[in-house]
């Protein structure tokens, strides 16, 4: 047969050759129909059996994978979940931190000091805090986080707390500051010597080996010595005329009470990690309210008209830190037609 592979098709004479060749050889052999039927039937049965076995293999593989996934989940649960009975959801948002702060999920209750801190993470990587989490600040460190009800919690240096749930903090050692502006909600601060419950207030709790100290800056708290059980002893700590109770309770539950001004310098440690006040679209009145809460001072307007003006004037932008209130506030007032006088216990606006 003459061939020309480069051509797309064969010539007419070549086609004739091809036709003659195929006619000479005839159709290809095939099994007889009845034989073919038997072969097909046997092949089909073997195929169906193979399909069944394949599905069995798949199921077995899936079972193994599911088992492996279960094991991994169980391992993950043991490693990362908090102790049973504690919630795993996020309960607080970190607002600011200074120095070295360590976080971990407690694995036992009470946690063993030797194994308590298995995970150290920089504070900037921890925007959220979960229930059951233990937080510890090192020397010269501080941390402020916000609970779901907008209560701000600030941890002083060398402090260790556990977030039991969204409204329950266990202070193991150190000092915390609670700023709870919402009078409709309350949180419980648990300490080895007693629980402190507030309804919208500002106070600090100091836990040391020998005593518990609760210092009031605003509002009222109740202190339940020995916990909130039926046999506990309840105390009320309050603030009157800018002077807050400072209750010191020793191991024998003996209570010593003194006074601390709401605007005293002793509160300034709380400024370290307080979030800045954002001025954009904020009114002078709102700025003063924040400054008063940060400093423990009152805001006194010379007249309702002055107060109205303070509510109308708004800033374009910028921010102010709690630690710079005394220096920055006069500069801000220079941009308004209001006058500011900062006194020891109040801001006077004229």
């Amino acid at each position: 047969m003459n061939t020309h592979p480069e051509h797309d098709d064969i010539s007419r004479s070549q086609e004739s050759d091809l036709a003659a060749l195929l006619q000479r050889t005839g159709k290809r052999a095939k099994p007889r129909p009845e034989a073919n039927q038997m072969i097909e039937q046997a092949t089909r049965q073997a195929w169906q059996s193979a399909v069944h076995q394949q599905q069995t293999r798949k199921r077995r593989k899936l079972s193994v994978m599911a088992l492996a996934a279960s094991v991994l989940l169980a391992i993950g649960g043991v490693m990362f979940l908090p102790p049973s009975g504690q919630n795993t959801h996020r309960v607080a948002q970190v607002l600011n931190a200074q120095g070295r702060v360590t976080y971990n999920v407690a694995r036992s209750s009470p946690p063993s000091p030797a194994t308590q801190y298995s995970t150290d993470q920089p504070p900037r990587q921890r925007a959220q805090l979960n229930a059951g989490e233990t937080i510890r600040t090192a020397a010269n460190a501080s941390l402020t986080f916000k609970l779901r009800d907008n209560t701000l919690i600030t941890l002083d240096q060398n402090t260790q707390v556990t977030l039991t749930h969204t409204a329950h903090i266990n202070v193991l050692t150190g000092r915390i500051y609670v700023d709870s502006p919402d009078h409709n909600t309350s949180i419980t601060v648990q300490t080895p010597l007693g629980d402190i419950v507030d309804i919208g207030t500002q106070y600090q709790v100091t836990v040391k080996a020998e005593h518990l100290e609760v210092a009031m800056r605003e509002g009222i708290t109740h202190i339940y010595l020995g916990g909130q059980g039926a046999n506990s002893k309840a105390l009320a700590a309050k603030v009157i005329d800018g002077m807050g109770d400072v209750m010191t309770i020793n191991q024998q539950h003996h209570v010593r009470t003194s006074q601390l001004a709401s605007s005293a310098e002793q509160w300034q440690w709380t400024h370290k990690t307080q979030p800045d006040f954002l001025l954009k679209q904020a009114s002078v009145s709102e700025l003063l309210t924040w400054a008063a809460r940060m400093t423990g001072k009152e805001v006194v307007y010379a007249s309702p008209r002055i107060q109205n003006i303070a509510e109308q004037i708004r800033f374009n932008g910028g921010q102010i830190a709690a630690s710079n209130i005394s220096t920055q506030l006069p500069l801000l007032f220079n941009t308004t037609n209001l006058a500011l006088q900062e006194q020891s216990t109040a801001f006077l606006i004229e």
């Binding site: 070549q14 036709a19 092949t43």
Partner: protein
């Protein structure tokens, strides 16, 4: 290009995706895929065995054994060779096994096993093409049959319908359920493919 590549491994650089897809569908229990598989390959396996086994009944047994064994080992097919090559390998093994079982020594098969290239070449051809037969027309018939089997199934079918059965393009189109233009196009490609492959097979055979 070697005959092995020419016949069964035209796309050695890539896996036999279409064959793999067919096997996957088979393993998923797809009935249409089984029909397509059986109609495409059963006759080719039969002819492969028929050239080696003179007895019709024995040939049918071996074909049945080969096809059922292929079904049992479907999950082992990896697409490294064409599905046709894979099936022929199974059929060859079954044929050799049949000879061993019934005490017939197949010298041809033993010779093939000693030479992989020769094995690859002659495995595709019925044993009668080794020249043992004096009937040249039978040799030619087997060579044509092997060429047609090595072509894509539809090419072999349209060539048979056109030149052996004498159907017109219109009748082929009606039989295949397609258009006349498509049939003409397939015929053109089939003729070209047949011519090239047949020539290669002739040359390969004449040099052995």
């Amino acid at each position: 290009m070697s005959l092995k590549k020419l016949l069964f491994n035209r796309s050695l650089n890539v896996p036999h995706q279409a064959d793999l897809a067919l096997i996957k569908a088979l393993l998923n229990g797809d009935e249409a895929s089984f029909t397509r598989f059986y109609n495409t390959y059963s006759d080719k396996v039969y002819r492969f065995c028929r050239g080696r086994i003179s007895d019709e009944a024995n040939c049918q047994d071996i074909v049945q054994q080969s096809m059922t064994k292929a079904m049992r080992y479907l999950h082992t097919y990896r697409g490294e060779a064409s599905l046709l090559t894979w099936l022929f390998q199974i059929a060859r093994n079954e044929t050799a096994s049949w000879y061993r079982q019934y005490g017939k020594n197949d010298a041809l098969t033993a010779t093939f096993d000693d030479n992989p290239h020769l094995l690859a070449t002659l495995e595709s051809l019925p044993s009668a093409l080794d020249g043992s037969t004096q009937d040249v027309s039978d040799d030619l018939k087997l060579l044509v049959s092997t060429t047609l089997d090595a072509l894509p199934t539809i090419y072999g079918n349209v060539l048979e319908m056109k030149y052996i059965e004498g159907l017109s393009v219109q009748e082929i189109a009606h039989t295949m359920g397609t258009g006349e233009t498509a049939v003409q196009s397939q015929l053109a490609r089939a003729r070209k493919a047949f011519k090239r492959l047949f020539q290669e097979l002739q040359q390969e055979w004449s040099t052995q």
